[in-house]
Every structure is written in structure tokens, then in C-alpha cells.
């Protein structure tokens, strides 16, 4: 292999925002059927500039602003998908996807099944989600639990720029509808990577940091916090493994359960409110699958059961490194009552 021929492009620092922009551009380039639309995604390039430059490059037939109506955006995307197109739509902020809830649950999620496979709906709904950016009310919701509970949807939440690229390309290629959750707080985070060089399949979790004592399970906006906590735990003498779910539904049981069986302890982390949150599913299914390997219950570090707080208080609501470490500390490291099980 020479330096000029077939050499992979050099890795370069890239933000998640520009990785997403590149994924959209490459998908538009690769397949004429891809359309990008939503509120302010055309001329403006989106309020987060994720679609910056796309309308100019691909024309307003393929990248365009719609009237201001989210049910309308998702409902027409469904019709377009029925007619052979691949719509990628943007909901401007998480809570502003709620008006489309009926179209998502009653149609987008069910159409393939209702029609016995005749009508698939390869629609991607991009949702900037989560907090940590000082946004005012309604701008920081984490609504993954609503979507992951809805059979027929795939739900994806990248935690790194590289994954943002790979997962968005995979979501657009996917024949199933995908709710694509973009962690706002990570839009401007950087990674030095070669986009698209070695994509992991869309439905696979990834072990981001190997460790033997406890498994931290995170995704999207909380991945970086979990990794930070894992580093901080070294000081406490804990060897922490971090699993990045990448795809929330369907769940990669194999990867996650293997990790938890290895470590015997697990903490799942998310920003969303705790009760009935996605972490409950993770905890319940891991307990079902790994009960005899668990030295302690699977713990959850989550937002509180409150409406997302105002900017001045969000730091208290959001899972922090300390709160994660506190949970890890509660995992009965010196359990006198219960002897360590087989393997520990």
C-alpha cells in the first residue's frame, strides 16, 4: 500500500455537529431518494446548524423548510416513504416532537406490521435531546423512554462524533423507522477520527473502556460523563467498564449482559427522569439475565422525577461524575452479610 493510493483519509478532529452534517451530506449525495426537511433546516441550516449548507448544495427540492407543524412533518414523511423516498426530518427540540406523537406511535411504528410487510417506512426522525446547555423549559427533555417502549421503532443515541456519523448513515440506510436522538450538549464536543472508516453495526453496543469491577451503562449525552467517572474511579481503586449502548432499541443484550456477568455489578446512567425511565428496562432485563452473577442490584443514576429544571438548577438535576461514583460506592464492595458469589 502506497501513501497516495487506497490510504485511508487521515484522522482529523471533528465535532459531533459537523459529523452529523457530513453524514447528511454524504447520504444526500449517495442516494437521490434521501430528503431532508423540517423547521428552519433549509436557508438557516437548522438552529443547531446541523443542516448547514445542505439546501445550497442539494437544492430546495431535497432540503427544505416546512410549515411549522410537527405532526405535519412526520405525517407527510410517512406518505413520502410510502412513495419510495427516504425522509430525514428534524424536530427542532425534544419537547417539540410531542405534537407528532400520534403519527409516530400509531403509524410510523406500526405500518410495516399492519401491512404484513408490504409498506415499510424508512423514515429517520432527528431529535436534538437532553439538557446541559442552559436551555429554558421545553428545550431539554429526554424522551427516549416514550420511543423505546413503542414496538416497531428503532431508537439510536450516539455519544461520540464518529458514532454520530456512522449511526446516522446507518439509520438512513435502515428499512425501519429510526428515532435518532442527538445529545445537544455534545454537539460541540470533538473527536479525532476518520468518519465512516470502520462503522460498527447499528444495533450493537460498544465497550468504550474495559474494566473488571463494575459496568457503567450509558449512551448519548451521558457517555462522556460515564467515561469521566470511570477515570475518576481509578483513584478509588475501582476498575470500571463503560458500555456505550449506541442503540437503545432493540437492545444489544449480548454485549451488555456479557459485561455485567464479568463485573457482577452495574450502574445505568441517563438524564431523563427516573421513574419508568429507560434505565428501568436496562436494570430489569440485566437482572433477569444476570441475576446469579450480580453482587448487588443494578443501580440507576438518572435525573430526578421532576420537570426539567431551569438553567440555574440543571446541574443539580443532571447525573454528575460524583453522583455516578456515589452509586458505584453503594454497590456493596465489602458486603459482610452476603458472601461474594461464584467468580468473585
Amino acid at each position: 500500500m502506497t501513501a497516495t493510493l487506497g490510504a485511508p483519509p487521515a484522522a482529523a478532529p471533528v465535532t459531533m455537529a459537523s459529523a452529523l452534517n457530513r453524514a447528511l451530506a454524504d447520504a444526500l449525495e449517495a442516494d437521490d431518494r434521501v430528503l431532508v426537511f423540517g423547521e428552519d433546516v433549509g436557508t438557516l441550516g437548522g438552529v443547531f446548524r446541523i443542516t448547514d449548507g445542505l439546501a445550497a448544495r442539494f437544492g430546495d427540492r431535497r432540503v427544505f423548510d416546512t410549515p411549522l407543524a410537527e405532526s405535519g412533518i412526520v405525517g407527510t414523511a410517512i406518505g413520502m416513504a410510502m412513495n419510495g423516498l427516504l425522509p430525514v426530518v428534524e424536530m427542532q427540540f425534544d419537547a417539540f416532537a410531542y405534537p407528532a406523537f400520534e403519527q409516530v406511535t400509531s403509524h410510523l411504528a406500526k405500518m410495516r406490521n399492519r401491512t404484513r410487510g408490504a409498506v415499510g417506512l424508512p423514515v429517520v426522525i432527528r431529535v436534538p435531546y437532553g439538557g446541559g446547555i442552559g436551555g429554558v423549559e421545553h428545550h431539554c427533555d429526554s424522551s427516549e423512554a416514550y420511543y423505546t417502549h413503542t414496538s416497531g421503532l428503532r431508537v439510536v443515541a450516539p455519544g461520540t462524533p464518529g458514532d454520530a456519523y456512522d449511526l446516522l448513515r446507518a439509520a438512513i440506510d435502515c428499512p425501519d423507522p429510526v428515532i435518532f436522538l442527538e445529545p445537544k450538549r455534545r454537539y460541540w464536543s470533538k473527536e479525532t477520527t476518520t468518519l465512516g472508516a470502520a462503522p460498527l453495526p447499528i444495533d450493537r453496543a460498544a465497550v468504550r473502556r474495559a474494566g473488571s469491577d463494575v459496568t457503567l451503562i450509558a449512551y448519548g449525552g451521558m457517555l462522556a460523563t460515564a467515561l469521566e467517572a470511570a477515570e475518576a474511579a481509578v483513584e478509588e481503586g475501582w476498575d470500571v467498564e463503560v458500555v456505550d449502548l449506541r442503540t437503545l432499541a432493540p437492545f444489544d443484550d449480548d454485549t451488555v449482559a456479557a459485561s455485567v456477568r464479568r463485573t457482577g455489578r452495574a450502574v445505568v446512567v441517563h438524564e431523563a427522569q427516573r421513574f419508568g425511565g429507560y434505565g428501568a428496562e436496562v436494570a430489569a432485563r440485566l437482572t433477569e439475565q444476570c441475576f446469579h452473577h450480580l453482587a448487588a442490584p443494578v443501580l440507576r443514576v438518572t435525573g430526578f422525577d421532576i420537570p426539567y429544571p431551569a438553567p440555574k438548577l440543571e446541574e443539580h438535576h443532571l447525573p454528575s461524575v460524583d453522583r455516578i461514583l456515589d452509586a458505584v460506592a453503594r454497590l456493596q464492595w465489602d458486603d459482610q452479610v452476603e458472601p461474594p458469589r461464584k467468580g468473585y
Partner: protein, 377 residues
Amino acid sequence: MVAPPVPESAQLPEELSDRHPEALLPTPTPLHLLDANGREVDSRLSMPEEDVLLDLYRRMVVGRRFDAQATALTKQGRLAVYPSSRGQEACEVGAVVALRPQDWLFPTYRDSVALVTRGVDPMETLTLLRGDWHLGYDPYEYRVAPQCTPLATNTLHAVGLAHAATVKGEDTVALVLLGDGATSEGDTHEALNFAAVWKSPVVFLVQNNGYAISVPLAKQTAAPSLAHKGIGYGMPSVLVDGNDAAAVHVVVREAVERAATGHGPTLIEALTYRIESHTNADDAQRYRDDAEVAAWLERDPIDRLERYLTARGLLGEDARAAITAEAEGLASRVRAGMNADVEVDPMSLFQHVYAQPTLQLRAQQQLLTDELLQEAE
């Protein structure tokens, strides 16, 4: 301000509507071609060709027979539920016959007669209502979307499909059916707006049958007519006698033509009446008078066209006999089909939830398989 006169034709060049928005308003009284006695009336519409009229008549008779058969099957417990179209045949048939093969139909639960008219296999039409599966036909085969139950949601699908046709440069028009009640849902508003802004090739046909289950129109809207909503979207609108198949047909045909030639969507309100209860599970006597039903029976869409055709000597004994035979043939096929028990494979529960079954669904399928084996033991 005195509004300019409305032009004679519904084929409204866009410049005109820009200069004179009032041209987008419907006529104050419904357009029609035949009065309740089947006599031709003065109209801005022109009467369809004779073979079309005969075709409309034939399909209405066949459709009604299908409908009656389905209703009968609910009484025998062979159908879980059936929302009858009886009384609304002029809308269902008049509109569907105006579609070209490449066009799409977006029907509701009410519109089984429209499906049969479009050529959907009658047994496939009844799959949903027999409770076998959510849908019995392949939408692409007939260019008919699944019958839609969540009200008004199909209006947006129609706009999306039509817009995609525009994007792809295809000559396809989408006709979406909805009820008077469904016009109150937010989705109807969003669909009318998207269609108008995008100038999508869509025809919205509101079958205003006076009720949303038990709720009469007066509790649904205070508008002069539902067609008066069109102007608020910049969309031409038409008010038509929904029991006059010829008029519905012409009006929809014009709208399809407008759409197909790049002039955008049309909102049509057809005034009609549902003769049966909302579904067999409903009891219409709780909310409306027999006298009201009787008055509408006088305006029956089939009788009306039959009188006209008979008076013009277009409907001889032979033709009648052939149509009756066709209708009875269909009914007996439906009876036979519905009396045969259909087995639905429980394993189909897990198919087509995703393009490829997930590991979790495979495990759940295994659980059910084991249970069924155990039961069989």
C-alpha cells in the same frame, strides 16, 4: 368591498385566485346535476358521459349490496365490526371512479365501498373487520392506503405521498377521504396547509354525513360550510351534493385534473348522510330521529341516478338484470368466503415488526411456540 364574481369553472388559474381570493370560496348552495327525483337541473357542471353514468350506477348498486352483506355478517357474528357506507355510495363511487390507475386512494374505516369500487378484493377488504389482521390487501397493488382509523391522520399521508410524486416527477394524484368530524382534528389543518403551500396534487373529499358518531355537525363547527375552510389555506373549495353521484364524480374529476396539471389541491365537501348506525355496535336511535333518516332515504343516491337513467332509456331490463346478478354474485362470494374459517398463524405476530426480526422477538416467538406445543400435548 364587493367580492368579484366567482368564475364559471372550478379550473381556477392560480393568478385569478391571487387577485380575487373570494374565488376560492365554495358556492353558497351545493353543486348538483340531478335533483332528488333524478331530474337534471341547471348547473355549472356538465353531465358526465352516458357510459360513465351507467358505470357509476352499476358500482353503487354493487357497493350497496356488498355493504348490506357485510352488515348482515356482523349480525351473524362473522365480522367483529362493520362501519356501513350505506347512503354514501354517491361519494364513495363517484370519487373513486374519477381516479386514474396511477392515482392513490387514502380511505377511512367508513370507506369499504370505495375500496371495492377501486377493485380491492372484497375478502381482502374485510380482513380487518373480520379480525384476522390489520389489513388484508397490499396497498401497492391497488394504490389504496390502509383504511385509516385514527381520524385525519391519513390526510397527511396523502399529502406526503403526493408531494413525493411531485419530487419524483410522477403524475400521481392522491385522493383522501375524511368525515365531517375528522375536519376538527389538528392533522386536517396541517394537511390542508402543507398541501396548499407545496401545491401538492391532492384532493380532499370530506364526506359530511352530518354526524361524528352521535355528535351533530352543529357541535362540530360553526362555519357556513366545511368547504369554507379552503380559502384559509389559499385552496379552492367546492360544496357538492354528496348524494348526486354524477355531480360528485364531475367535481372530483375536475379536482384530479387540476392536481395533475400542477394547479395544486382542492377541498371538496360532499353533503350526504349515513343511513345505518355508526357501526353495528352503535345505536343511532339514541341521537337522531327516524324522521330525519326517512327524509334522507328520499334523497337516496341510487334511486336518483336510476330514475334519471330510466327516464332517459339508458337502463333497460337486461342491464338491470346484469347488475343485479353481479351484485348477488359478489354477495354470495363474500358470504362463502366469510363463512369459511380462516386460520391465522400466531407466529405472524412477530413478523414484520421490523424488517428483520430482532433477537428479542425471536425469543418471544419461541416462548409462544413452546406454550402452543404444551397446550397441544
